[in-house]
């Protein structure tokens, strides 16, 4: 059922069976919500590629598969290229008339975690977007290498504790700021780039639809709260995601053709970031007196980014 006909969350949650409920993701993992939202956003046939990561290892353990659609995993870094190859083959075969069902609409999608997207697969993503393949890349951004036990990635925010950027007696965790991949992908001139969150499921579904309907390469960064490494109770995934979007730690916006920025969600009450940080074990050391300055810095940067996004939107340039 297409998303346009779906009225409420209950209908939405059962609308599409191309991604089976039987998978090995952690209870409370947001990855499966985001995948389902993508599946629900279209009735078209899907060719999906996944980078190595939590989603991949949890959904295709032989002899089982959670995917009731075409799916491929090659390596940690190359889902964007796998889907590029498949898309090129689709074009060649369509032209030659060798497809079994040449009129069936097909969409090409790649999934990667933040480790595979921001770090090891960055070049492969950049290349595929530059070449202009007609596909949508969705980053499931849980801000760490969760599949290997919670190491830092370039998507890990400043101040977060990870196993390779530890908070300790003389350290407040990761020292470096999160890479702004959304800006980098927009700078590629991709026709549609967005940052979305699964708690705002209607906005997310619309964003996915827009990306799928847009010809050419589209990139979407999605916040995927990680119960295991962010350290919160599995039942609180959506609550944590609400805090991420309503503190503006994770603003929801789109950039069209590399420049036209639209804010897609404006919190009625902007919540201080402290509340978001306090809800997660990975930030608990920041509440020690000597680390308080990091919380202040995070809040300051959120405010500046929000100001920047609003001015960009207003400027229409």
């Amino acid at each position: 059922m297409a998303i346009t006909n779906i009225k409420n969350l209950k209908e939405f949650s059962t609308a599409n069976e191309r991604f089976e409920g039987a998978h090995l993701l952690c209870p409370g993992c947001a990855h499966s919500m985001i995948v389902r939202e993508l599946m629900n956003a279209t009735d078209d046939n899907l060719v999906i590629a996944s980078n190595t990561g939590c989603l991949e290892v949890s959904t295709a353990v032989y002899p089982y598969t959670s995917w009731d659609t075409s799916w491929i995993h090659i390596g940690f870094e190359n889902a964007a290229t796998a889907v590029s190859g498949a898309e090129a083959m689709y074009k060649a075969r369509k032209r030659k008339g060798t497809l079994k069902d040449p009129d069936a609409p097909v969409k090409f999608v790649a999934f990667g975690g933040d480790g595979s997207t921001y770090d090891i697969g960055f070049q492969w993503l950049s290349g595929a977007v530059e070449r202009g393949h007609d596909f949508t890349y969705i980053c499931l951004d849980n801000e760490n290498y969760a599949n290997t036990g919670g190491q830092r990635s370039s998507a890990t925010p400043i101040g977060a504790h990870t196993s390779t950027a530890q908070a300790g007696r003389v350290s407040y965790g990761k020292k470096e700021k999160k890479k702004d991949l959304v800006a980098i992908m927009a700078a590629h001139g991709a026709p549609y780039v967005a940052q979305l969150a699964p708690n705002k499921w209607k906005i997310m579904a619309k964003g996915f639809q827009k990306a799928l309907e847009t010809e050419g390469p589209c990139f979407i960064n999605t916040v995927s709260a990680c119960t295991t490494e962010w350290k919160f109770d599995p039942k609180d995934t959506i609550h944590i995601t609400d805090l991420a979007t309503d503190t503006l730690m994770f603003p929801i916006y789109e950039i069209i053709n590399g420049h036209e920025l639209n804010i897609l969600y404006r919190p009625k009450n902007i919540i201080p970031v402290e509340e978001y940080l306090a809800a997660q074990g990975r930030y608990k050391h920041l509440f020690k007196p000597e680390n308080r300055h990091v919380i202040e810095q995070i809040q300051k940067e959120i405010n500046e980014k929000w100001e920047y996004l609003q001015r960009r939107e207003e400027a229409r340039v």
Partner: protein, 411 residues
Amino acid sequence: MAEKMELKEVEVWDGNYAASQALRQAQVDVVSAYPITPSTPIVENYGAYVANGYVDGEFVMVESEHAAMSGCVGAAAAGGRVATATSSQGFALMVEVLYQASGMRLPIVMTVVNRALASPLNVRGDHGDMYLGRDSGWVQIDAFNAQEAYDLTLCAFKIGEDMRVRLPVMMHQDGFLTSHTAQNVHPLSDDEAYKFVGDYKPYEEMLDFTKPVTYGAQTEEDWHYEHKARQHKALMESKDVIDEVFAEFKKLTGREYKRVESYMMDDAEVAIVALGTTVETARVAAEQLREEGIKAGVVAPRCFRPFPFDEIRDALENTKAIAVLDRSAPMGAMGALFNEVSAALYTTPNRPLVTNFIYGLGGRDFSVEEAKRIFKEQKAHADAGHITTPIQQFSGVRGPKLGFFETKRGN
């Protein structure tokens, strides 16, 4: 529909051009590639065929060789004919994905124009890259000249795509010596060539949505081993298909290929075993030595993988002394070809004397004179009844003479 190309009965092509013509005639659907010397002209030419309507495929120029092979895997899983080309460092960068291509049983054809591996950086031909691929699960076929590069590339599609095989195939040729040396090549017409290769037969394809497929699943200790064992079995059994394809090609063209090419071996007392262009050099040397009364012959594995163990054994078992030539830095061991040939000969009653020459690294010339010297050394071993030198020597290297590993036989 792609335009056809009128070809003369005899064309003057180098190995790269010959390979690219085979890709065109096979009407490859997708080439996903990244340029690297000396293989670059193969994919440039495919791009030119696309640009001029001589092929209907898609030319995807990616940002690295790792991506090139990744694109090939995605394209092949989508159910069409796929090819690429690379060399040396590019090959090394691809290695991760080579294993994935063969593990997913995707019949990609890749020409590897053999070139040395850095460091030091070197663009000339040796077999370091070919050897790097030897455990990757691909069929590996070696062409010794431009005609063979053309013929065997056509055969490669037919071998890899056969439903009994469904494995990727590497087509090797020597960097510059073959790839950039123009020679007479007898091509097939476009129609004959395509008829020989045949239409691509999709199998478990991602673009048939009535039957969804999952490629690249995870297996741990419970299933990984069975997958790899079956893959090895498929590679071993591909030899029958290779023989069939070669037989069919001979019927069509009169040109005969075998998984092991033996030259003047019927009564040979001494032999050289080698790969690539060196095979032709050794053949000339053998011919000249025959005039001097030395019964010399040459054995060449046309097919490097699956390794033709039985055929190598049968070709060499009645010789007395054999030099196995490895054009790859052995780095702390015997040359790989030496080890495999020796293993085959160990199973024979007579167990000929086998020595190992490392030679030609980074494109160092290997002359007929040097081949003759090596033959004569084997003759001396044969006459003495044992190896009179270190087992491993370096041919044509400057500086003090290098020798490693000693025999216990005959001392």
